[in-house]
Structures are given as structure tokens and as C-alpha cells.
């Protein structure tokens, strides 16, 4: 299906189409011809960080980065800078986008356009170049996430052939130091056994999860986490489960819990409470759990609150 006919099949935009089809299509489909696309590996991380932070200044959730954070991001999520692109006009950066690559799959991330480059086709040009990079590498499935409520970006991805798959939750839990008086949850939750799990066993557990994880918390992301921590718990009532996370100086990140026996909400809550008792001073961030996942209730019961949502989207290369 051509892009134009694909567009025409969408009833929601047909009224706009009837008004000024020529000009509208020109805006929608033709990338900015004056833009130059340059591979991201031709830039220093400092240049990429500065440009990326500028693209996010007025975002709903700005999430700026520094060089160390970008470097960590690149390693954790298998970002390939030779497949990532920076849009320039007269040697000034107008936008950028990055591509993560795992086996035959790609992941579009960090797409942003500086305020000066908006409404000029820059975002579409970046997406098209990233898709071309994926195609050149024979990557058949391309994933991305967009923050719920960022309608221009969502529409851009829809019209680029992506389809929404599910809604993902980003939640946080501040530490509550008053909760921990020495006896804490370990006894309160009837946990009869808690053991640390080795790194190799943790990878086995991650590989056997019941549902498809999002890119951020796929097993491959954890392979790249140097200081992984994993626990297995068994409760008096026979409930069992495991939790894996990355503790750093201030935070618990990349938190994944899974129930093996018993009610998932109850097991995940007990696992999380055990985890938080161990790391009781850390702020916790849980990212990209599908909202339908039964452990989400356990997160909420353990004190997590919903910060924002992302929409996961996918484009299958064979649909083109």
C-alpha cells in the first residue's frame, strides 16, 4: 500500500485531506530537502548530549542526560551509533534519533527535534533514515515507545507504519525510612526463605518470563548490567518468586519481579518489600511494565505510584 493510500484510509484525517490535499501531503510526506543526515558516530557524546537535551527542553517529561548517562544508555540498550542519525541544516543540529539493534530486531529511541527544527519535516526525515538503516541491516521488526500524551510524535509514528501494541507503566517508590525498624517486612510477610541468586541463574530466570518484556527490560539489557542483584523468596503459604534489579549509589533500577507460585500481585508485593528492606535508602524506579501485567498491583501495594505511561509500538518490516 502506498503511503498516500495508506493515509487516505484513515478516516480521522479525511476532512483535512479534503480542504487542501496538495499542500497537506507535501507537509506530511516530503522530508525537509535542505536537511543533511549524518551518522551519529561522527559526533562526540558531548555533542549528542547537548543536542538531545535541547530537543527535550519543553517535553512533558524532559529527562535530560549527561555524557556518562548517555554512555550507559548506549551500552545497556545496544544502541548502534553507526545506525543512528543526526539531522543538520547548515551545520546546525536540528534533531537526532538512535537505533538499538538485537539479533533481527531494532529499537528506535532518543528521537527528538530541537524547537528550531520543528514543523519542518525533521522528525519524519529522521524516522525515515532510521527505518532505512534497519532495512539495510535486514532487521525485520522495529520497536519504539512514545510517551502517552505526546500526540504529534504518536501521529508521526502511526503515519510511519507503526502500530500500538500495549501501554507501559513507569512508576516510582520513594524510600520510607520510618518503615524500617529492624524487623521490617521479612517477618511480616511470612517469608520463610530468601536466597541470593547467581548472575547465571538470574539470566535463566529472565529468559523464562511468562510475558514478552519490553526492550528496556529484555534479558539482553540485563546482560549489559554489571552489578545485577537477584533474590528468590519462598513464603509460608508456598508462594514463590524472584526479583532482579540494578542497585546503584542512589537508586534501584531495572526492577523485574515474577511470581512462580501463588497470586502474582501478592507474591510481587512480598518480593518488592523484601528488596526494599535490603536497599531501604534507595529511591526506586520501575520502567515499562505492561499495565495489564498482574504484578503491577503488587508494585502498587508495595508503595509504587504511577508517574507516566508510554505506548509501545511496532512496525514489521514485511508489511511495507
Amino acid at each position: 500500500m502506498s503511503k498516500v493510500s495508506q493515509y487516505r484510509s484513515q478516516n480521522t484525517l479525511s476532512q483535512v485531506d479534503n480542504v487542501r490535499p496538495h499542500r497537506f501531503f507535501q507537509q506530511l510526506w516530503q522530508p525537509n530537502r535542505h536537511l543533511e543526515m549524518r551518522r551519529a558516530d561522527k559526533f562526540s557524546l558531548q555533542q549528542l548530549v547537548e543536542a538531545y537535551n535541547q530537543t527535550r527542553v519543553d517535553y512533558i517529561v524532559p529527562m535530560p542526560m549527561n555524557v556518562a548517562r548517555l554512555n550507559e544508555y548506549i551500552k545497556l540498550y545496544d544502541i548502534d551509533l553507526t545506525a543512528s542519525w543526526v539531522a543538520l541544516k547548515e551545520e546546525t543540529i536540528h534533531g537526532l534519533g538512535m537505533l538499538g539493534i538485537r539479533k533481527d530486531r531494532a529499537w528506535i529511541t532518543r528521537v527528538g527535534v530541537l524547537p528550531s527544527g520543528r514543523r519542518k519535516g525533521t522528525g519524519r526525515a529522521i524516522i525515515e533514515r532510521l527505518l532505512q538503516s534497519a532495512e539495510e541491516r535486514h532487521l525485520t521488526t522495529i520497536w519504539l515507545e512514545v510517551i502517552k500524551g505526546n500526540e504529534p510524535a504518536y501521529q508521526l509514528f502511526l503515519t510511519s507504519g507503526f502500530q500500538p501494541t500495549r501501554e507501559l507503566v513507569v512508576a516510582r517508590r520513594p524510600p520510607d525510612l520510618r518503615e524500617f525498624s529492624g524487623n521490617g517486612y521479612f517477618n511480616g510477610e511470612n517469608i520463610v526463605r530468601m536466597v541470593d541468586v547467581s548472575r547465571s541463574t538470574a539470566f535463566n530466570l529472565l529468559d523464562k518470563r511468562h510475558a514478552r518484556p519490553n526492550w528496556l527490560i529484555e534479558s539482553e539489557s540485563f546482560y549489559n548490567v554489571p552489578d545485577l542483584q537477584a533474590i528468590f523468596v519462598e513464603c509460608e503459604d508456598g508462594a514463590q518468586g524472584w526479583a532482579i534489579c540494578q542497585p546503584d549509589k542512589f537508586q534501584l533500577k531495572h526492577i523485574v519481579v515474577e511470581a512462580l507460585q501463588g497470586d502474582p500481585a501478592s507474591v510481587s508485593c512480598r518480593l518488592l518489600k523484601a528488596l526494599h528492606e535490603r536497599y531501604f535508602t534507595r529511591d526506586a524506579i520501575m520502567e515499562n511494565l505492561p499495565e495489564q501485567d498482574p504484578t503491577w498491583q503488587g508494585f502498587k501495594n508495595a508503595g509504587y505510584f504511577d508517574v507516566f505511561r508510554r505506548i509501545e509500538m511496532v512496525k514489521n518490516g514485511h508489511q511495507n
Binding site: P64, N66, P174
Partner: protein
Amino acid sequence: MHQCQPFIIDRVTTILHIEDNRANQVLVERVLTAEGYHITHADDGESGIQAAISGKPDLILIDMGLPDIDGQTVVTHLKQIPNLQTVPMVAITAWPAEKALETAKRYGLSGCILKPIDVKSFPIQIAKYVEPGR
């Protein structure tokens, strides 16, 4: 023989502003300096934590989106430092109001001020937490 007269040094109220955006730093400094406050800056979370420990400010203003550690985590850490537990901490954020207020409450912040700041009402908002030259 001269008798020493006791004297009082007017202590200037110090506000630590943890914010990575230079334009926002300049704006906050300009508005609050004119009101008699002394402003110190930190560009990211780690340096903000160090500045808070060494300077013990009267008020800490924290941007929620920082490039190294986000504002919530900075607050979490600062609240565990005994000397800083009574220092009011206020978020400055561009988040939607409802989410900003909920986050401020959950993290035990004294309040939150939404961006873009209004230069007329900003000193009044700040005075709710501290008085200049108290």
C-alpha cells in the same frame, strides 16, 4: 576604656538552586537576588548534594529533570542527611500540575512551583518557605 557593644550580623537567607538550564538559573537568580536572597547554583544532582551538605542553605529549589540523577532521587538522598532534614525543599518543574503535586507530596517536598515561573509571583511563592534576611 571602651566597652564592646554587642552587634548583630544580618544573616542573608541562602537559597541553593539545583538546575541544569543556564537560562533558568539566571532568571531565578535575577528575581531572587533583587529580593535580598543569596543564591547559589548547582548544575546537576551530584554537585547539588555536595553543595547542600557544604553550604547548608535555608531553602533548596530543585529541578526535577537533572542530567545525572533526577530531582526526586536528589531529594531522597538529601532527606537522609541529618543536618538537612529541616531545610525546606521545593520542586521546580514543567510537569503537569497534578503529577507535579503528587510527586512533591510522595517525596516529602515542602511544595512545588510550576515552570515557567512568573517573575511577579515567584518571590511571594518563595517567601512562603523562607524570609529574606530573617
